[in-house]
């Protein structure tokens, strides 16, 4: 069988090769294509190719570019000639990825690879038709040489004032066909000339090996110490942000996410910068520890309670694992150019985030002896994954990932830590529990009314202290300050003064200073002296005897009165109802207003809201002349167009009957075949209104979802949108 097309190639390879193709390009089997033809179509589609090309490193990419600039079919030798010897090793890698395939007469690129690579591949212009004597270039006049120097490394286009009257250099080049006019003002350097001037090579620098990662050495012990400090810190931050939101839930923005103000608040509260605060907020959000509630409040979830009881290693794993795979980029929050991007908001997803992050971490793990220096590290990352689409973001992503890895403790002082290594290789994280400072269960109370927990506190003690003291300083230790306000808070939480003193006595390793004990009992003595409550109505009387009579009156039990002073009772019922009940029982109550005035006279109420009378629905107004004529005009125009459409629909139906219908995949497959064979065919093509017309065409190429072909009917080049091609048939 003759093997020329990519489909033919795919049909010819064995299962192992297909397996490898699918490992590199997982998108090809999602969903699984029905046959080889549709596999080939999918593999040649622009999105899939772009994805595959994104997966290449810089050297592979350069070789692919070199393949794309020479004429098909080509040989290994030709590629080596315009690149480096090392290209020999790369070609099979390209073949494995389905970006290059061997055919009977040499190697070829699948359709569309060139389109995906762009117009001026490697900064080279199109091939010329003319026969060139390239040797003459060496004797080009100086003026021409100057022009060539400008264009040699691309872009190959240059603009001239007027093509009819260019400078002497350009004139010579145009005469010799070393330069081709593109339009009135633009000239272009043909590919052959470019390659010749580049000394027979395609690229200025052939980056066969990645640039070296530079960095500084760190003492291993300090690295681990710094990393475990980071682990402890990030856990504490997560704890704090959640505790804070549990007390003071933040309001989500209408567009979703955490507002700038609330971000600032938590950043100040935790004493960290806003970038870090946004990162922590995203971490707990990804871990499901916080959610945006139905009423747009940002609140900790039930998982937080479970999380609190877990071992540190499990807690850390719970926040670090989602970060590894998320496509959300918290670094975007608060940048000058994306002011409205909010943490927890909908705009943080970026396509290459997870892959860049994975690549950065992989490189960190590979260079475990050094703290990489950002510039060389970024260059290396760029070599490994030259991002075509958003190179700026990629650079920032590298920086952010390094920063975030440090915050998480995956690195310590910039070097990957043993915790990071275990984590990335999916090992058990028990070492975190072992290396974190062991929790303490005691505090030291000092005479300036502060208490110091000289290490992470066990949960129960910390919870009580958080109520009866204000945290003044956080870190490895915690400093609490007791004031009358905090003691009062403890009392409000239902503790008695003696309980607080007992608790402190039990937990403190040092005796409680007298002033603190005095403070607690002093506040406890005063607590609850002033009381506030809700009630609906009150009954008061200057004569306490009458009050006593009312409260003991069995008929008034329904009011469930409570006497709060000799002369005052309160009731949960409305004053109006209370008056009625009292009257029925034979008492003579009078109403009193809020400011203590006696309300007398008949009760005559008024509404609080503004009057809003119902709309009157009656006869329609007679329309004006202008309105009438406009209405007629509208109806006429509408009628005309619907008549035209029904006519068109008839034509379409006829046409459809005459054409064989093919599926989208068949259409593409046939088109590709006809393009290669350069034969004419007939298609059905739907226009803007859905009318299908029958065309005879010569297909030329497919690019970006369109077919460019010569239409026999008009004799002109025309672009056909592929989804609108209803069917194809050979002539």
């Amino acid at each position: 069988m003759q093997m020329r097309s990519f489909t033919d190639y795919l049909r010819s390879v064995d299962d192992a090769a297909l397996l490898e193709l699918f490992t590199h390009r997982a998108d090809l089997i999602s969903p699984v294509p029905s046959d080889m033809a549709s596999l080939a179509v999918r593999a040649c589609s622009a999105p899939s190719l772009a994805r595959a090309i994104d997966g290449l490193n810089q050297w592979q990419f350069q070789v692919l570019e070199a393949c794309a600039v020479i004429n098909e079919p080509f040989s290994e030798k030709q590629i080596v000639a315009i690149t480096e010897k090392a290209a020999v090793d790369v070609l099979p890698e390209l073949i494995v990825r389905g970006l290059l395939y061997p055919s009977d007469d040499g190697m070829r690129l699948p359709n569309s690879v060139r389109e995906v690579l762009g117009n001026e591949i490697a900064g080279l212009g199109p091939a010329t038709m003319a026969k060139l004597n390239l040797k003459k270039l060496d004797e080009a006049p100086d003026s021409a040489k100057k022009v060539l120097e400008r264009l040699i490394w691309g872009p190959p286009r240059g603009s001239v004032g007027d093509i009819k009257n260019p400078g002497p250099g350009v004139t010579w080049l145009l005469e010799e066909n070393f330069m081709v006019p593109l339009d009135q003002r633009t000239v272009i350097l043909p590919r052959e000339v470019g390659i010749y001037l580049r000394g027979g090579k395609v690229h200025k620098e052939r980056e066969v090996t990645p640039p070296e990662i530079k960095g500084s050495k760190r003492d291993d012990r300090n690295v681990q110490l710094a990393a475990i400090a980071n682990v402890a810190t990030v856990l504490r931050w997560a704890d704090e942000i959640l505790e804070y939101w549990a007390q003071e839930p933040a309001d989500a923005l209408r567009a979703g996410g955490l507002g700038v103000r609330d971000l600032k608040i938590i950043a100040t509260h935790m004493g960290i910068d806003e970038n870090c605060a946004a990162f922590i907020a995203e971490l707990v959000y990804l871990a499901g520890l916080v959610t945006i509630d139905a009423d747009d409040k940002i609140l900790p979830t039930n998982n937080f309670d479970i999380w609190l009881t877990q071992k540190p290693s499990v807690r850390w794993q719970a926040i670090a694992a989602p970060w590894l795979i998320t496509s959300r980029v918290s670094g975007l929050v608060g940048r000058a150019e994306s002011k409205n991007t909010a943490a927890l908001g909908p705009e943080l997803d970026r396509v290459n985030a997870a892959s860049t992050r994975a690549l950065v971490l992989k490189l960190l793990a590979e260079n475990k002896k050094i703290a990489p220096e950002l510039e060389s590290f970024t260059k290396h990352v760029k070599w490994c994954s030259p991002s075509k689409r958003n190179p700026g973001l990629q650079e920032e992503m590298v920086q952010w990932t390094l920063r975030e890895a440090e915050w998480l403790g995956i690195t310590g002082q910039g070097v990957i830590s043993k915790y990071g290594q275990e984590f990335l290789s999916g090992e058990d994280l028990d070492i975190i529990d072992a290396d974190l400072p062991q929790p303490v269960d005691h505090i030291l109370i000092q005479s300036d009314n502060t208490a110091i927990a000289p290490g992470p506190l066990v949960h129960d003690v910390a919870a009580v202290l958080a109520i009866i003291g204000d945290i003044e300083s956080r870190g490895g230790a915690t400093v609490y300050r007791f004031t009358d306000a905090t003691i009062r808070r403890g009392l409000d939480h239902g503790k008695t003064g003696d309980e607080i003193i007992d608790f402190l006595r039990k937990t403190s390793k040092t005796p409680i200073p007298q002033p603190l004990e005095y403070l607690i009992s002093d506040v406890a003595k005063k607590h609850g002296r002033l009381r506030v409550g809700n009630t609906s109505s009150f009954i008061r009387c200057e004569d306490p005897a009458l009050i006593t009579q009312i409260i003991s009156d069995k008929r008034l039990d329904i009011l469930s009165l409570r006497r709060i002073a000799p002369e005052v009772m309160i009731c949960d019922m409305d004053a109006h109802d209370v008056m009625n009940v009292l009257r029925n029982a034979g008492y003579l109550p009078a109403a009193e207003s809020n400011n203590g005035l006696l309300l007398t006279g008949p009760r005559s109420s008024r509404a609080q809201s503004k009057p809003r009378p119902p709309r009157i629905i009656g006869e329609l107004e007679v329309p004006t002349d202008a309105a009438l004529s406009a209405a007629i005009r509208t109806i006429r125009v509408g009628e005309k167009s619907s008549h035209k459409q029904s006519t068109l629909r008839n034509i379409a139906n006829n046409a459809l009957g005459a054409l064989p219908r093919t599926t989208a995949n068949e259409t593409l497959d046939v088109l590709l075949k006809y393009i290669q064979e350069q034969r004419s065919l007939s298609i059905g093509y739907a226009d803007n209104n859905g009318a299908v017309s029958h065309r005879i065409i010569d297909p030329l190429k497919i690019s970006a979802g369109s077919l460019i072909a010569r239409d026999h009917g008009t004799g002109e080049m025309q672009t056909f949108r592929i989804p609108r091609i209803t069917g194809v048939a050979p002539l």
């Binding site: 400090a229 004493g271 000092q446 005479s447 300036d448 956080r474 490895g476 002033p515």
Partner: protein
């Protein structure tokens, strides 16, 4: 994880466990760069501040040494962000240098042109600069030396001052240690100052700051200008200098409201220096009349603004600031740093107490209840009158009477803010009163009588807050104060901290009205001392009446 005595917190505070075996060693190691914030009984709190770190740079320590120290003594791993921050902050110091230049006088030189470009564009800096000499150098008018240092500090680019000091007119001064010996910490303080060039020495009241001043003068061996708070203090300085140094009476002059002597060693009061005549400070010229080799600022925490301004102009002279508390309620600590100099020496009060150089003291807060009628009048008093009202309540008088009776036979000072209250107390107790209008002569007579034991009790107003040397006073009773001033409280306690001949401990009573603004102020006033480890025992007035002390 090590088992060090230090815990480095993420808010840049350092907690030092003083019961730890290595605590003394660690305290010495961190003292050059961390500011002691609190020193109660178990855990001392230090803080890493920009000023402190720049101080350390000025004293020749680098970031690496700071980081190594933190890591070495830290119990837990040190947060990375702190280390980065330390390195960051310290690297800002010294990018700009002030140097003497034979042609331009004074120049600002940089190693980092970007920084220079940044600062010369700052609004506050531009007017202080002269001609641009080259990319890295710009001329500064010598008289702006202080101003520019102050402004650069505010911008966060403190300049290292290499311009040096003038020696001043030489004058032989030496310590005369015949019947006494300079204490080790005093010597350390004087040396710390001398090696640093200029700066502030912080020592508790009663710890002998005058001797530090005298030792500094003995180092300088040059004419000296000493600025003190008031005339009584000036006389005390004079006597102390006569006793401790080789100076004789003719060499020491007093420049005050009463006398205007200018001698090789001149003691001037802040009051006369800041006195205005026809809208100008007539006496500020004193700074220029002599080629002073050393200027000493006593009680530098009280330094008034005009002196600050003038100090800015004399940056080429050595300056020594002395104080017990660098806390300024007006937050001008930065000014002190840039104009007088960085803190050169600091030591916890309790440490000096344990060495026996200051008397141990007990602080007691006596809470009195307002009577029912007083409570009613307090509740309805105008806000600005409230403090005065509750601070001068009658009940306090009874408490003071009981306390004085209880401590009969000891030397007692009753200190207050409001003159009416003090007049009344002096009458009730039958003891003399010293207030602002008491002539200096009479004051001296009374103080001398008190020292000799002829009088055992004195009522004093705020004039006796500072610098009054009353060695045998053992009891101080404070009835009212300048609102919530922390340093006033410390100064007042200082009055009774001179070591007693019989090794007795002192007691400081603060009488406070319960549940009033007086109590809130008292809490703030006590903060500094509580942080120094002076625990206030709180008792009720009834305990005093029943003699349960």
């Amino acid at each position: 994880m090590t088992d060090g005595p230090l815990i480095v917190q993420s808010d840049k505070t350092l907690l030092l466990d003083i019961d730890h075996a290595m605590s003394t060693e660690c305290r010495r190691a961190i003292a050059p760069f961390a500011e002691l914030e609190r020193s109660p009984e178990h855990i001392h709190t230090y803080r890493l501040t920009n000023l402190g770190l720049w101080n350390a740079r000025a004293a020749g320590h680098d970031a690496e040494m700071v980081i190594d120290t933190l890591i070495k003594y830290s119990r837990y791993a040190v947060p990375h962000s702190i280390l980065v921050d330390v390195a960051e902050t310290m690297s800002r110091y010294g990018r700009l240098r002030l140097e003497a230049d034979p042609i331009h006088g004074l120049i600002l030189v940089t190693t980092d042109t970007a920084v220079l470009e940044e600062v010369i564009r700052a609004k506050k800096i531009a007017p202080l600069l002269g001609v641009r000499i080259d990319n890295e150098t710009i001329a500064v008018h010598p008289s702006q030396r202080g101003q520019i240092k102050q402004s650069l500090l505010r911008l966060g680019w403190p300049a290292e001052d290499f311009a040096g000091y003038v020696d001043g007119q030489a004058h032989e001064i030496a310590l005369k240690q015949t019947d006494w010996k300079i204490r080790p910490y005093q010597e350390l303080a004087a040396e710390g100052f001398w090696h640093g060039g200029s700066g502030v020495v912080v020592l508790p009241c009663g710890a002998g700051k005058t001797i530090v001043g005298a030792a500094a003068m003995a180092h300088a061996k040059a004419t000296t200008l000493i600025l003190v708070t008031n005339t009584v203090a000036a006389r005390q300085w004079r006597e102390e200098l006569l006793k401790r140094t080789t100076l004789n009476e003719d060499e020491i002059g007093e420049y005050s409201g009463a006398k205007k002597e200018i001698r090789p060693v001149t003691i001037a009061t802040y009051q006369v220096m800041t006195k205005k005549k026809d809208g100008v400070y007539a006496h500020l010229d004193l700074f220029d009349t002599h080629d002073w080799g050393l200027i000493i600022y006593d009680e530098v925490h009280l330094l008034p603004a005009p002196i600050f301004r003038f100090t800015a102009d004399i940056q080429s002279r050595r300056r020594l600031g002395l104080t017990a508390t660098l806390v300024r309620e007006d937050g001008m600590e930065g000014e002190v740093f840039s104009l007088i100099g960085p803190k050169r020496f600091d030591v916890p009060w309790k440490e000096i107490e344990s060495q026996g150089y200051i008397a141990p003291a007990q602080c007691v807060e006596v809470r009195v209840n307002l009577s029912e009628t007083e409570r009613l009048s307090y509740a309805t008093a105008e806000p600005e009158e409230r403090y005065r009202f509750c601070a001068t309540t009658r009940t306090k008088r009874n408490v003071v009477e009981s306390l004085v009776a209880h401590h009969a036979g000891e030397q007692i000072l009753v200190i207050g803010q409001y003159i009416d209250q003090l007049d009344e107390l002096s009458e009730v107790l039958g003891v003399p009163l010293i207030k602002g209008e008491t002539p200096v002569k009479e004051r001296e007579v009374l103080f001398n009588k008190f020292r000799s034991g002829e009088i055992s009790c004195l009522v004093v107003s705020k004039v006796a807050n500072f610098s009054i040397d009353l060695p045998d006073a053992t009891i101080a009773i404070q009835v009212s104060g300048a609102f919530g001033s922390r340093q006033e409280e410390a100064q007042r306690l200082g009055r009774i901290l001179r070591p007693k001949s019989d090794g007795r401990s002192a007691t400081f009573y603060s009488v406070v009205s319960r549940d009033t603004i007086d109590q809130d102020f008292a809490q703030n006033r006590q903060r500094f001392l509580a942080e120094q480890g002076y625990a206030y025992k709180i008792i009720d007035a009834d305990d005093v009446f029943q003699g349960k002390l």
